[in-house]
C-alpha cells in the first residue's frame, strides 16, 4: 500500500512522529555486480552478460539472475531501483564508501556526516540503546585503509556509530572493548568483575586516552550493565528455527541482531555485509569486491548467504508487523563494470548500480529506473545519487528540510519521490 504523497513528505514537521522509527541500512561493502544479481542482461554480448541464467520474479516482466531465488519470490515485498549513480571521481573504495554513506566526497574537509549520524543527532538517545549502531567486527576498511565517512564527521565524533560485531554463532562483541579479551554482552553477569577489568585497563592509559576512555567506554559499560540492552544485543535468545531462517553465517546472524535492534526501536542501524571490501583479503571476511573470480564468488558464497539472510530479515519484519515503521535500504557503494575485465571478472563502475527499498511507506513490488541494453547507464527513470538516498532516508526518519538546514547537512539533496 502506498504511503503519503511526496508533497506531504516535504511538508512533514520534524516534531511529528517519523514515518520510519528505524532505518535499517544494509551496506553491501565492496560493490556487488548489478548484472549478475538484480539487473541481468541475458541478451547482451557474451563479453558483458556473464554466465548466469535468469529467473522470473513475482513482479510481472521482471527477472533476476538464478543466484537469487528467494529474493525473486519476494519481489512484491520491496522495490528495486536500477538507476543508482555514484560519483565517478570517487570510484575507489575508501572514497566511494564515503560517498555512499554521506552523499558527498571526502574533500573538502571536514568530511560530511554519515546518514546514521544525522539521524542519530536529530533523534538523540531516547531509550536504553544508542541511536546509531553499525554492525561489523570493526571500523570499515578497504584493503586495510579506513573509510572516512562512516561517522559523525563535521557533526563531531559524539555522533559516531556504536559498533557491534556478531559471529556466525551469534556471539556479539564490541570492538571498542576488544582490549577486554573474551568480553561479550551475553557473558556479562558480574558487575564488580567488569568494573575491575575496565579500571585495570584504564590505569594503563595516559590522561588524554583516559578522557577518551571515559567517554567511549563509559557508554559501552552502561550498555552492558543494562539487562534490556544486553538482551537486545543477544541473537542467541531467538528460537533455533528463527536463527536457522537467517542462516548460520556471520551475515545471517548479524542480520538477526539487526532485527532485534529494530524491535528495540533504535533509530538507525547500519548492517554491513563485511568489514572489508575485498573478496580475498587475508585476515578479513569475504566482501563484495570481486576483481577476480566474480562469478564463482557470487554463486558459491556471496549470493546464497545474502539471498537467505536478507529474505529472512524481510519476512521477519513483515511477520512481526515492523515493516511499516522501518525503512530498509540495501545497496553497495557503486556497481561493477558491465564489460567483463581482463581477468574474466568485473571492476568498479559508478555509472549505474542497484538499491533495494522496503517498508517506511515505500510502495513495494516495483522496479524504478532502467539501464541500457548493456547495463552501462540509466536510460529512463530517476537518477538516484547517494545524496538523494541520504535525503530520502533522513526525510523518512524525521529529519526534514528545516532540520537538515539547521544541521547544515545533505545540502542540495532531494527525496526520491518515485518510491512512494
Amino acid at each position: 500500500m502506498a504511503w503519503a504523497l511526496p508533497g506531504s513528505l516535504q511538508q512533514a514537521s520534524a516534531a511529528e512522529t517519523p514515518r520510519a522509527k528505524s532505518v535499517l541500512f544494509v551496506f553491501l561493502w565492496g560493490a556487488p555486480s548489478q548484472l549478475d544479481t538484480f539487473d541481468p542482461k541475458p541478451d547482451a554480448p557474451i563479453e558483458y552478460r556473464g554466465p548466469f541464467g535468469v529467473i522470473p520474479t513475482r513482479t510481472p516482466g521482471v527477472h533476476f539472475t538464478e543466484l537469487l531465488p528467494r529474493m525473486a519470490t519476494r519481489s512484491d515485498r520491496f522495490t528495486l531501483v536500477r538507476s543508482n549513480v555514484a560519483i565517478s571521481s570517487s570510484s575507489g573504495h575508501p572514497k566511494g564508501g564515503t560517498v555512499a554513506l554521506t552523499g558527498f566526497e571526502e574533500q573538502p574537509e571536514p568530511v560530511q556526516p554519515t546518514f546514521g549520524s544525522i539521524v542519530a543527532k536529530h533523534r538523540g538517545q531516547t531509550g536504553y540503546l544508542p541511536p546509531f549502531f553499525s554492525l561489523a567486527s570493526g571500523k570499515l576498511t578497504a584493503g586495510g585503509e579506513y573509510i572516512k565517512g562512516d561517522g559523525g564527521g563535521k557533526l563531531s565524533t559524539a555522533h559516531d556509530p556504536f559498533m557491534v560485531g556478531c559471529s556466525q554463532q551469534g556471539e556479539v562483541d564490541i570492538p571498542t572493548l576488544k582490549v577486554l579479551q573474551g568480553l561479550a554482552p551475553n557473558r556479562i553477569s558480574d558487575r564488580k568483575s567488569l568494573l575491575n577489568r575496565l579500571d585495570a585497563k584504564r590505569a594503563q592509559l595516559d590522561s588524554w586516552a583516559s578522557r577518551q576512555w571515559q567517554r567511549t567506554y563509559r557508554s559501552a559499560y552502561d550498555l552492558l550493565m543494562n539487562p534490556k540492552a544486553r538482551a537486545a544485543l543477544d541473537p542467541t535468545r531467538e528460537s533455533p528455527a528463527t536463527r536457522a531462517r537467517y542462516g548460520h553465517s556471520q551475515f545471517g546472524q548479524t542480520a538477526l541482531l539487526a532485527r532485534r535492534l529494530v524491535e528495540a526501536e533504535v533509530p538507525y542501524i547500519q548492517l554491513n555485509y563485511s568489514r572489508d571490501v575485498d573478496a580475498f583479503n587475508p585476515g578479513y571476511e569475504i566482501g563484495w569486491d570481486t576483481h577476480i573470480y566474480n562469478f564463482e564468488l557470487l554463486q558459491d558464497q556471496l549470493c546464497p548467504t545474502f539471498d537467505r539472510a536478507f529474505t529472512a530479515l524481510l519476512d521477519d519484519l513483515y511477520d512481526r508487523g515492523l515493516i511499516d515503521q522501518t525503512l530498509v535500504v540495501c545497496k553497495g557503494e557503486f556497481g561493477r563494470t558491465p564489460k567483463i575485465n581482463v581477468r574474466a571478472s568485473r571492476d568498479h563502475w559508478t555509472n549505474s548500480y542497484f538499491s533495494i527499498w522496503a517498508g517506511g511507506g515505500v510502495e513495494p513490488g516495483r522496479v524504478i529506473g532502467e539501464t541500457d541494453r548493456l547495463g552501462q547507464d540509466p536510460r529512463s527513470g530517476p537518477i538516484v545519487t547517494p545524496l538523494r538516498v541520504g535525503t530520502t532516508i533522513a526525510e523518512l526518519a524525521g529529519v526534514d528540510t528545516l532540520a537538515r538546514g539547521e544541521m547544515r547537512v545533505l545540502d542540495g539533496g532531494t527525496v526520491v519521490d518515485e518510491l512512494f
Binding site: 554466465p51 541464467g53 559471529s167 531462517r245 548460520h248 556471520q250 573470480y293 546464497p304
Partner: protein, 295 residues
C-alpha cells in the same frame, strides 16, 4: 597403479563405508558426516576412499583444509601451519600429492601442489596484480594438474606438471571454463563452460580437442565429475529452483536427480565404490557433509 591396487582401494573404501553404518532403512536417506554446521566446500575422497579432504570456513576470515578419517570421523587440519585461506583440494590417485588453492595476498591465489611424502610444496604462481587460479585436479597417471585461470577476459583450463612447469592451455573459448575433471582412463576431460550463454557441462579430449556439449539448460549446470568407472557424470544444477545434485551418463543421457531439498546441495564427489557421493548440504541454515547413495 595396477589393477590389484585399484581393487584393493575399492575394497578398503567399501569396508569403511560399511563401518560407517548402520545405514538407514531408506536407501535414499543421506548419512551426515559432520555436525558443526560451519560453511564447507569442495570435499574430495582420498585415493583409497578412506578419508575426505574438504574446506571449512574456520572463522569468517579463514578457509582451512581439513581431513576426515571415515573410519572414526575424526577431523584435523591438513596443514596446521597454514596462515591464509586454503581451499578446493584435489588428491592424486597414488595418494602422494594434494593440490589446492592458496591465498597469497589481497585478491591473489595460487595453486599449490603438496608432496605428502617429502612434505614439500610447489606453487603455480599468479602473474602480478589481482590474479589467481582455481579448481585444481590431477590426471589419473598423477603426472599433471589441471586448473582454471582467467586470461584475456576469458577463463580457460590449463594444465601443468607437478613441478609447476610446462603450462599448457587446453581451452580457447569465450566465457568461463571451470571445474575440469579427468575421465578415469585419462582420455577425456569434463568441465563447465559458459561459452554458449550460461553454464553447461562439456566434454573434450585430454588435449582440448573435440569439444562436445552434454547439457542444454537455461540455468546453470556446474562442477561435473566422472564416476570411478567413467560411465556417469555427477554435477550440480539449478533446474529445480535451487542447487541440487544430478547424475547422467557420460554422453549426457539418462539424467537422474539425486537430491530433493529446498535448501542447497552442492560440491559432489564420487566415492571410489561408485555408489556413494559426498556432498555439502545446507540444512536449517547449517552446512555439513553428507554421504548420499546414487540412484
Amino acid at each position: 597403479m595396477s589393477f590389484f591396487d585399484r581393487k584393493r582401494q575399492y575394497l578398503v573404501g567399501s569396508m569403511i563405508l560399511l563401518l560407517l553404518g548402520p545405514w538407514p532403512s531408506c536407501a535414499e536417506e543421506p548419512v551426515r558426516l559432520t555436525s558443526d554446521g560451519r560453511l564447507k566446500a569442495t570435499p574430495v575422497f582420498s585415493h583409497d576412499g578412506t578419508e575426505l579432504v574438504f574446506a571449512v570456513l574456520e572463522n569468517p576470515k579463514m578457509f582451512r583444509l581439513m581431513t576426515m578419517q571415515l573410519a572414526d570421523r575424526s577431523v584435523e587440519p591438513l596443514r596446521k601451519a597454514a596462515t591464509t585461506a586454503e581451499f578446493e583440494p584435489a588428491c592424486s590417485r597414488d595418494g602422494r600429492y594434494c593440490a589446492f588453492v592458496r591465498q597469497r595476498g589481497v585478491l591473489r591465489l595460487s595453486v599449490a601442489i603438496l608432496d605428502k611424502q617429502t612434505d614439500t610444496l610447489v606453487e603455480v604462481l599468479p602473474p602480478p596484480g589481482f590474479a589467481g587460479m582455481r579448481s585444481p585436479t590431477f590426471s589419473p597417471d598423477n603426472s599433471r594438474v589441471l586448473y582454471s585461470f582467467a586470461d584475456e577476459s576469458r577463463q580457460q583450463i590449463f594444465s601443468t606438471d607437478l613441478r609447476a612447469n610446462d603450462p599448457q592451455k587446453l581451452t580457447n573459448s569465450p566465457g568461463i571454463n571451470n571445474w575440469p575433471n579427468f575421465s578415469p582412463d585419462g582420455k577425456e576431460i569434463v568441465f563447465g563452460s559458459s561459452r554458449d550463454g550460461n553454464f553447461d557441462i562439456y566434454l573434450m579430449q585430454c588435449d582440448g580437442s573435440n569439444v562436445q556439449r552434454l547439457t542444454h539448460n537455461p540455468v546453470q549446470d556446474i562442477r561435473p565429475r566422472f564416476s570411478p568407472d567413467g560411465k556417469r557424470i555427477v554435477f550440480v544444477g539449478h533446474r529445480h529452483g535451487n542447487s541440487e545434485i544430478y547424475v547422467m551418463d557420460r554422453d549426457g543421457t539418462n539424467l537422474v536427480r539425486v537430491t530433493h531439498h529446498p535448501e542447497r546441495d552442492d560440491y559432489p564427489d564420487w566415492h571410489t565404490d561408485g555408489k556413494q557421493l559426498v556432498v555439502v548440504s545446507e540444512r536449517g541454515g547449517r552446512h555439513d557433509l553428507y554421504l548420499v547413495r546414487v540412484p
